[in-house]
């Protein structure tokens, strides 16, 4: 009786057997990697904005306080985007004819708002509040990254639920004193762990409730 399989069939069978076991893990791994990839999370993706606003210039070089434009950040869930008139406080005097700023001038002249592309997006079922994070010692750059170096705004962190929880489970590594919250150049000191614990007590943060579903989802 002639042989049905060639000798190489052995190798094929072995590979098949291995991949039956390994395959699902690889598939899950790839799937997980995709969900964590910038394709899904939007991390480090730069978008085309109507005006190429540079945080590097305004927040970095000129060191304008974050709250000058994002005025609601201490009071509201939404940090707030500057109305056209805020831009025009300076730009009615500076770079009044710059072609780059034409959409801003047009907005004021026609009373039509500027349509910015949202960079930091959370799903609709997440209820994030800027003001409470600011009040409890989380700095702007902790989540938004070094905006003072970004010519165009991009999302510095992944903003996945796991990333949120990493801090909600243990905020000590990220807490800052009140006077450092808006400091873009703040770097955690060497003994941040200890200082964080002190700050946790200082801000009366109850970490146990921070991981309840109802803290962020309703």
């Amino acid at each position: 009786m002639p042989q049905i399989f060639r000798p190489s069939a052995d190798s094929v069978a072995r590979i098949l057997l291995v991949s039956i076991v390994v395959g699902p893990f690889v598939a899950i791994g790839i799937g997980y990697a995709v969900t964590q990839s910038p394709y899904i999370t939007g991390q480090n993706v730069t978008m085309k904005q109507p005006v190429p606003f540079s945080h590097a210039h305004h927040a970095g070089d000129l060191a304008i306080d974050c709250r000058y434009c994002h005025a609601g950040v201490e009071k509201s869930a939404f940090a707030g985007m500057p109305p056209t008139t805020t831009c025009m406080t300076c730009h009615s005097q500076l770079y009044t004819n710059a072609p780059m700023l034409a959409p801003v001038r047009l907005s004021l002249a026609e009373r039509k708002p500027i349509h910015w592309q949202r960079v930091h997006r959370l799903p609709d079922y997440v209820y994030f509040d800027h003001s409470i994070h600011i009040a409890k010692g989380i700095g702007c750059t902790t989540c938004h990254g070094p905006v003072q170096t970004m010519p165009l705004m991009r999302q510095h962190e992944s903003l996945t639920m796991g990333w949120c929880l990493s801090c909600h489970r243990d905020p000590t590594l990220y807490l800052r004193p009140e006077n450092q919250v808006f400091n873009s150049d703040w770097k955690p000191p060497a003994d941040q762990r200890e200082r964080g614990k002190e700050l946790l007590a200082h801000y009366l943060i109850d970490t146990k409730h921070l991981t309840d579903c109802s803290t962020c989802h309703r």
């Binding site: 109305p83 009366l204 109850d206 309840d212 109802s214 309703r218």
Partner: protein, 948 residues
């Protein structure tokens, strides 16, 4: 008519036209497109050009204004997010709101965003403009000026707006021969005529129910829907405080043909034919005078009258007798006399609605129509083609008039037969003013700029007077200029802030009634049909409001339509069953109705409600229920004697929520009713156990500062449904429609259960939100941990985890979980197919749930969270009263209490220690956080057996 575009031939995709290469190309592009569509659509942030002062995006603002109900104002405070009004709550400073709301106030915010509202003027030749109307009107008004307005007629409902009354007054001065007809579909003529008969002039009686010890209601549904419901409900319950002592606890007697909300809350209820209420009043009056009158009433009613009269007499100075709107003027007059004998706590004020009889106005209108005396007819926010008696003959006459215009929010039945239809602004878009039932004035301020090309009534009247671009803001300010004093602007700001104009309540006038001689009537033999405004949609002008349509009626739990209720005895006689379609006939008119058998109804009485059977209400309200307005002719009251019914041989399903969420057990355990007398002896046995049941589950003990709990006092619940609609508005609860209701798929997070005994007698009401059980049966059965507890005792539903197994729903003993069988919130028929304006109503702090997701009451977790964040920003804990749930805020009688069990001083802790405190299904060991206080009754011991 041929189609405008010839049909284009589709290119053949299959067969010879498609080769292998093309097929692969299509396949590849299809795959690429489906992959590309996985990405999130881009999102924009659109800031202001010039940000308004005080507005911080993300922080809701609240403004005081007033909403009208049958012409009377009720003060409200409206929450606005980013310029969109989304929630109506009560204004504590306003006498008709007292901080609470009713279903109509809550639902008005949905009407604002109704996609069926008319958006542009319509002229005789189709869509037109206000300018075109202005031109047409000017030509017409020039003619009227020449003849001093002899052909000018204005039709409106009840108006209490001082500015509007001033404007119309000026208009009528300019056109002395013009006429203005005011009629309300649900008139109060009998009440008014009653005071004319008793006092010689029209007055409005304002009973001080909160100071009463005994109230006898003669067919008067003062706790039912209406402009005074909130105030009456609050007063009634504050007079029934168990802790104030038995002698200070109000006792309520109600005699009426069909059980109303008031009847359901009565200590003694009597079913009596409406005509015989007159005899009952005579018997009570005679008994108070110490006379004997026999044979006027059936024996049961005679005893009722005698005992009620004795009770009234014993509480002289604190006893009130009231008659209802269907009772004739003589009965009202007699009640005033009785109240005078009793020194009843009743104030009389000058009427807030200065207009005379509503039916007289209609009669004059009909005469003018038939006499061809009308040249220019202007219908101001009224709908006579739908709700006027049938013999007005509008259908034939209106189009024959030289000029007719209808102003309203909807292009309704009247707009259809008028030459012009002009859209009016919603009250939440307008400047105006309104008076409450007691005369208190409020300024109506807009929460949003008009969504469409609409005008206010003030602008319309000013237009008639020849103004070119009138501003209602200026007109309203002009009215109050003299009132405001020297510093008008600060006065104005204060009034806008408060929501009421101080010291505008009409002062009580002293008046002595003349004794009237009322002849008793003999026992009638004909059947009588009584018509009442509907508890959910009142007179029908809000018929296009899906929340109101789906709001289960307090006693029958019907939704989406009305029924003809008949007594059980009559049902047997007529061989009718619930759901039978019958022809309801009165004189020449007839209408097809659906029968409901009602145990709490006098024999020989048929009852139904107004407001249904709209033809042109809008996509939601068209063709729902049957219309009984055409049964009436001019001069008919809302009692139609001699009505007959005949079976049509068909049946129809009634979409009702009754029995959809039946709990397993006995009524006495779910809603114990205890008499005030037995309360003194203490309460023992189930369900009043004070010790929790032993459990094998770990008992949650944590050091968190909060443990949220709710205590609902069923003795204070009058069953008005305000909490239900408030919850719907706050929590983006979708509407499902009649077909889904028939499949038991109603979505209301909070339901109001109505319990009845074996004979059908109403035992009471029980609002049922989620119990937030400490040992929640829904949690262990969820395979994906979507139903979990948080540390503060909230049983939370995580929508983004839920995969829709519905195990939790079947394991919930309280049946409070609701499943989205379809995308009810997005694109279903009764969500207006997802039309954009509807979305604007949604509360941005609450997720809009998608298809396939379970949902339920959250204890308004968004409000808890907001309060917590505010407190934590100030480094403190949440104080008592900082978290008020939507249902709690809406409750007119403050039956719902919410608070923190860890706070020793919290009201919920005090209530949980009350003797009447019990847990619903507590024997299951679920340890619910929502608990109840037992219902209280105060029966007259002389009656012998308790009310069945």
């Amino acid at each position: 008519m041929p189609p405008v575009m010839p049909k284009q031939k589709a290119a053949p995709l299959n067969g010879a036209g498609l080769d292998r290469r093309a097929a692969l190309k299509l396949l590849a592009s299809g795959m690429a497109m489906s992959l590309a569509s996985c990405g999130k659509p881009p999102e924009e942030i659109v800031p202001y050009v010039d940000q308004p002062e005080r507005l911080v995006p993300g922080i809701p603002l609240k403004f005081a204004t007033a909403l009208d109900m049958a012409g009377y104002g009720r003060g409200v405070i409206v929450t606005s997010v980013e310029g969109r009004p989304i929630k109506v709550e009560g204004n504590p400073r306003h006498p008709a709101s007292l901080g609470a709301t009713d279903v109509f106030a809550e639902a008005s915010v949905l009407s604002l965003y109704d996609p069926d509202r008319s958006k542009a003027p319509r002229g005789p030749k189709g869509i037109a403009s206000w300018d075109a109307f202005g031109d047409a009107l000017r030509t017409q008004m020039e003619k009227e000026t020449k003849r001093q307005g002899a052909g000018l007629r204005l039709v409106s409902g009840r108006l209490t707006s001082p500015t509007l009354l001033r404007q119309i007054d000026e208009l009528l001065k300019a056109f002395p021969l013009a006429r203005w007809y005011r009629y309300e579909p649900v008139p109060d003529d009998n009440e008014r005529d009653g005071t004319v008969r008793a006092f010689g002039r029209p007055l409005t009686p304002l009973p001080r129910i909160d100071g009463a010890g005994v109230v006898v209601s003669l067919d008067h549904d003062f706790l039912g829907a209406g402009p005074q419901q909130i105030a009456n409900g609050r007063a009634f319950i504050s007079a029934r405080n168990a802790n104030a002592g038995a002698d200070k606890f109000l006792r309520l007697y109600v005699a009426e043909p069909v059980m109303s909300l008031t009847g359901a809350n009565a200590d003694h209820w009597l079913a009596i034919r409406p005509e015989l209420v007159r005899n009952l009043a005579i018997a009570v009056a005679a008994s108070l005078r110490g006379e004997q009158q026999q044979g006027l009433l059936p024996p049961g009613a005679e005893r009722f009258a005698a005992l009620a009269a004795a009770d009234l007499k014993s509480k002289t100075g604190k006893a009130i007798v009231m008659a209802g709107r269907t009772q004739p003027a003589e009965v009202h007059a007699l009640c005033h006399v009785i109240n005078d004998i009793l020194h009843a706590p009743v104030d009389y004020i000058e009427p807030v609605d200065p207009a005379g009889g509503h039916s007289e106005a209609l009669k004059a209108f009909a005469d003018d129509l038939s006499g061809n005396r009308i040249e220019t007819l202007l219908v101001l926010n009224a709908n006579p083609a739908y709700d006027a008696p049938r013999d007005l003959g509008f259908k034939g006459d209106f189009p024959k008039l030289p000029f007719s215009a209808h102003f309203g929010l909807y292009e309704n039945e009247t707009a259809e037969i008028c030459h012009w239809h002009l859209p009016l602004s919603h009250p939440l878009e307008s400047w105006s003013d309104l008076r409450a039932f007691d005369g208190t004035a409020s300024i109506v301020q807009p929460l949003i700029r008009p969504l469409y090309d609409t005008r206010t009534t003030h602008q319309v009247i000013a237009l008639l007077s020849g103004a070119l671009s009138p501003s209602s803001y200026d007109l309203v300010r002009e009215t109050w200029q003299t009132h405001g004093g020297d510093d008008f602007d600060s006065w104005w700001r204060q009034v806008l802030h408060d929501g009421v104009v101080a010291d505008t309540r009409h002062a009580a006038v002293s008046s002595k009634p003349k004794t009237t001689d009322v002849k008793p009537t003999s026992v009638p033999t004909d059947a009588v049909l009584t018509l009442a405004p509907d508890p959910s949609i009142w007179d029908g002008h809000q018929a296009n409001n899906a929340w109101l349509q789906e709001c289960p009626k307090p006693l029958s739990k019907e939704t989406w339509g009305n029924t003809l209720s008949i007594s059980s005895h009559d049902a047997q006689q007529l061989h009718c069953e619930a759901g039978d379609v019958v022809m309801l006939k009165y004189k020449e008119a007839s209408v097809e109705a659906i029968v409901r058998v009602n145990a709490n109804q006098a024999d020989g009485v048929y009852a139904t409600t107004l407001g249904y059977g709209r033809r042109r209400a809008g996509a939601i309200g068209n063709g729902i229920g049957f219309d009984v307005y055409p049964l009436r002719t001019i001069g008919d009251s809302f009692l139609l004697s001699g009505a007959t019914i005949a079976k049509a041989g068909r049946t129809r399903d009634i979409p009702t929520t009754q029995g959809q969420f039946r709990l397993e057990g006995e009524t006495a355990q779910f809603l114990p009713r205890i008499s005030l007398a037995s309360l003194a002896g203490g309460l023992k046995g189930p369900p009043f156990e004070k010790e929790p049941k032993p459990t094998l589950y770990p008992v949650t003990q944590n050091d968190d500062p909060y443990a949220w709990a709710m205590v609902i006092d069923t003795a204070a619940c009058i069953g008005c449904n305000a909490c239900l609609i408030a919850c719907q508005a706050e929590n983006n609860v979708p509407v499902v429609g009649p077909d889904q209701i028939l499949r038991s798929r109603v979505m209301h997070w909070l339901r109001v259960d109505t319990y009845s005994d074996a004979n059908g007698g109403i035992q009471g009401f029980q609002p049922v939100p989620c119990m937030h059980c400490e040992h929640a049966p829904c949690e262990p059965v969820c395979p994906v941990a979507a139903s979990v507890h948080d540390r503060e005792g909230l049983n939370v539903q995580v929508y983004n985890r839920c995969i829709g197994t519905r195990f939790c729903q079947s394991n919930c003993p309280y049946k409070v979980r609701r499943f989205n069988w379809f995308g009810y919130a997005d694109d279903e028929e009764y969500a207006n197919l997802g039309e954009p304006p509807i979305e604007a109503q949604h509360n941005p702090d609450v997720t809009v749930r998608a298809r396939g997701v379970m949902e339920k009451c959250t204890y308004c977790v968004q409000r808890i969270s907001r309060a917590r964040r505010e407190a934590e920003k100030e480094d403190r804990t949440i104080k008592e009263g900082e978290v008020v749930t939507a249902c709690q805020a809406a409750c007119p009688t403050r039956a719902i209490n919410f608070g923190n069990l860890k706070d020793a001083g919290a009201q919920v802790n005090t209530l949980r220690k009350e003797m009447r405190h019990y847990e619903l299904l507590g024997h299951l060991g679920t340890r619910p956080r929502t608990t109840y206080l037992a219902r209280l009754t105060n029966p007259n011991p002389d009656f012998g057996e308790p009310k069945s």
